[in-house]
Amino acid sequence: MSIVTVQLGQCGNQIGQEVFGALCSDIRGTHGLCSKKENESYQDSCKERFFCEEESAVPVARAVLVDMEPKVISQTLSMAARSGHWKYSSHSHFCQKQGSGNNWANGYSVHGPRHKEAIMNLVQKEAEKCDRLGGFFTIMSMAGGTGSGLGAFVTQCLRDAFPTSFILNHVVWPYGTGEVIVQNYNSVLTLSHLYHSSDALLVHENDVIHKICAQLMNIKQISFRDVNQVIAHQLGSVFQPTHTAGGGSGYSRNPLGDLMETLVPHPEFRMLGLRNIPQMPESSLPYSTFSWPGLIKHLRQMLIANAPMEEGIDWQVRPPHPSSIPSTNKPLHFNTSIANLVILRGKDVHSMDLGSFQDPSLYTSWLNPQDAFNAWKTPRAFNKYEKSAALVSNSQFLLKPLDSIVGKAWNMFASKAYLHQYTKFGIQEEDFLDCFTTLEQVISSYTNL
């Protein structure tokens, strides 16, 4: 099944280009470390999912590029073409001239309706190119105006036009100390709207990725390109083909569906966090050795202690004792999960037992631990890492950052600052209140796990 990617706004387009680049470079790489047959199967599966073979010499990404100003899309298209190994279709983008001005209301209420037809036509064309449509993957930031506002509108349109398809929104959360002053308003508006139309939100926080770049990748002068490449690597580690547990011998044919089924058992809980291990500069790879037990042990503790990466993990945090009363005596800082998915790639995957992730004390009481945890594996190594593991988690990972964003937005809302900028485009105070209510509900639900 194929996935159609919709890249929205500057962030969405910049990341999208890195993602397709990473996927392409991975399948072209010679570090698969597996049998030729396995490798070919992997390549074919990836190509079916993300690329279209058309008449062109290089694979064409199954993507629609949307932005309200022209510079980023123009750059994205040319950078892709310059790689020589893949490209975007020349007819799959839509842009305007004046941008959204970091104004969610402008993106949602003005640009959305105005350009709905043109954008959905492009999406329809891409969807029709797929033999079997596996769903939509949208990439956006929630801080600005286009990715956030127009992104929320487009997601709604996708839901209306494709009621039975899966929609996964990749949402980038901005740095806590401002990239955009009204980012918290835009975030609250985006998240609450997405909650109503999307199947799940897969989140990356700039602050977290920045730490990975600084401490693990050893990058001195970190650019957005560096941040985006780490994000692309992490996304690739989730979306490249794998064998699901009961899936027989071939690669999974319904990645988005499988993801939703394993991770989103209840509509109130849609926030997914992502962790990946190991992460290091490419130059260090030849000098490093990995063991599955070591990787899994670290990944498990990253889950329990809500650590962003494999350095600086708090090993003191422990799951609650099984005999203690659930939910009232949970130790502080312990990250309770609803469902987890671990993806292993590389040498000797099948030898690794993941029982430690099935420990009932990691989870809420309402799912069977066997149902709450799933593992996907492939012996084919990813992106030159001999062994790598990814964790997609529906847990309290994002509770604190979400609470912080809502708190700051509420603080600003109480003073009525900047509201005139939104009301002039049709988003009223009552609309804000509805969004706050939705998110306080989500926060409350996750808190009471």
Partner: protein
């Protein structure tokens, strides 16, 4: 997206002239192939002049003849004529000029009421023609001074006009405020009358004070003449230098100061014209820096003022650039933002600066700055890859900060000194449409604005009580 500058009056046109000169230099430095690109189109049309000046616009391909998208308005001919005889004569055509002969006599009422009325249709017509050539008009810039008659009076008339005719296009105003020692006696009247218009009709105002420009120019002269060992300055990097010329002696007296303002406008629009990893468009500036409609006065600072000729830029020097942006002597008005209250702050960086440099400096400087309680993390940031000519990197800081208040209070005081004695009032009241109420309303508008800043200042340093969050029934 196109930005359309209007230069009104003597000061406005002198600054405008420097602006076009430096804009051409900037684009020439970046655009090596001579192709008319998206960046150029935001300020220039590409006209096929082979069949004469009225040739059609060429939207792609090689540059034929660049014409500035601008309107030059002055009620005296001197300055505009000079521009048309100088090196920029081919950049403008007669359809963009509106001139008269006798000037406004330093009288706001003459500029606003008499010339406004007289030239209204002419201005609207030329405005529509200019706008027609624009693919997507995003913003108007008015460049003027507040203390005279034309820039101040006719300039604010044009501001009103723009709001009526193009309500959806943003209106940015760069206003040069008179100093205490201004030789125009009635400058306080003109300025306060103009202020009311700015309060009500501008989206964003960038106030500039001549004193600050003068101090910056002096600082640079001192630095050049100090003959410090090992510090040779790149001439074209001086924020005060004109395009192509290193002959500072031959420049006209205000040129150096006007170049600073021209550079401000270039930097302000750089991210809209050139690519970068985090674009910052003009509508974003208005969105993020104006929390309440009337509080739209932004204090600006530009760094570095010059670049030394050695190429190596250790990050320590980069960090110095950020520190300087917040120092008193880099602000373009007489103000000290560090000791007042920030409502919002924007940092637009150009050149080889990455997000980690931005973050490091924000973290470093944040503790010494006071932000309003509901906007503790009120930073808007932009990264543009293309540096200004002569620099490897530069920073423009825009602050919505209560430090503008003293400028307005002084203005009001100077106004009241004259008004109490009714000095020179008859020059204004004898103009059709002018009444005493114009004055009382104007000073009242200014007082209200000052009061809003006072109320904000009163919250500074006070206890911070976060409003309680919504409670959800479980």
């Amino acid at each position: 997206a196109v930005s359309l500058p209007f230069a009104v009056g003597q000061c406005g046109n002198q600054v405008g002239c420097r602006f076009w000169d430096l804009a051409l230099r900037e684009h020439a430095a970046v655009n090596k192939k001579g192709i008319y690109d998206e960046a150029l189109s935001s300020f220039f049309r590409n006209v096929d002049t082979r069949s004469g000046d009225n040739g059609p616009d060429i939207y792609k391909g090689k540059i034929c003849s660049l014409k500035a998208r601008a309107l030059l308005i002055d009620m005296e001919e001197g300055v505009v004529n000079e521009i048309l005889q100088g090196p920029l004569r081919d950049v403008f055509d007669s359809k963009q000029l509106i001139t008269d002969v006798s000037g406004s006599g330093n009288n706001w009422a003459v500029g606003h009421k008499i010339y406004g009325c007289q030239y209204r249709e002419n201005i609207v017509e030329k405005l529509r023609k200019t706008a027609e050539h624009c693919d997507c008009l995003q913003c108007f810039f008015i460049i003027h001074s507040m203390g005279g008659g034309t820039g101040s009076g006719l300039g604010t008339f044009v501001l009103n006009l723009l709001e009526e005719e193009f309500p959806e296009v943003y209106r940015f105003v760069t206003s040069v405020y008179p100093s205490g020692e201004d030789d125009v006696i009635t400058s306080p009247y003109n300025s306060v009358l103009a202020m009311k218009e700015l309060n009500e009709h501008a989206d964003c105002v960038l106030p500039i004070e001549n004193e600050s420009l003068f101090e910056i120019v002096n600082k640079i002269h001192q630095m050049i003449n100090s003959g410090k060992l090992g510090s040779t300055v790149k001439q074209n990097s001086l924020v005060t230098s004109s395009a192509g010329s290193a002959k500072t002696l031959q420049e006209k007296p205000f040129d150096a100061m006007n170049n600073i303002v021209a550079n401000l406008l270039l930097n302000l629009t750089s991210s809209a014209r050139f690519e970068g990893s985090l674009n910052m468009d003009l509508n974003e500036i208005s969105m993020n820096l104006v929390p309440f409609p009337r509080l739209h006065y932004l204090v600006s600072s530009l760094t570095p003022l010059y670049t030394l000729a050695d190429v190596n830029v250790p990050s320590r020097r980069l960090d110095q650039m950020f520190s300087d942006a917040f120092s008193r002597d880099h602000q373009l008005i007489q103000a000290d933002p560090k000791h007042s209250l920030y409502l919002a702050c924007a940092l637009l960086v150009r050149g080889n600066v990455q997000v980690s440099d931005l973050r490091r400096n924000i973290e470093r400087l944040k503790p010494s700055l006071h932000f309003v309680s509901w906007n503790q993390e009120g930073w808007k940031t932009g990264l543009c890859s293309v540096p200004p000519v002569g620099h490897s990197h530069s920073l423009l800081a825009l602050a919505n900060n209560t430090c503008v208040k003293p400028t307005f209070i002084e203005l009001k005081d100077r106004f009241m000194k004259l008004y109490k004695k009714k000095a020179h009032l008859h020059h204004y009241l004898q103009i059709d449409g002018m009444e005493q109420s114009c004055f009382s309303e104007a000073v009242s508008s200014l007082s209200d604005l000052i009061e809003e800043y006072n109320e904000l200042d009163a919250t500074k340093g006070g206890p911070r009580i976060d409003p309680s969050r919504l409670k959800i029934a479980v």
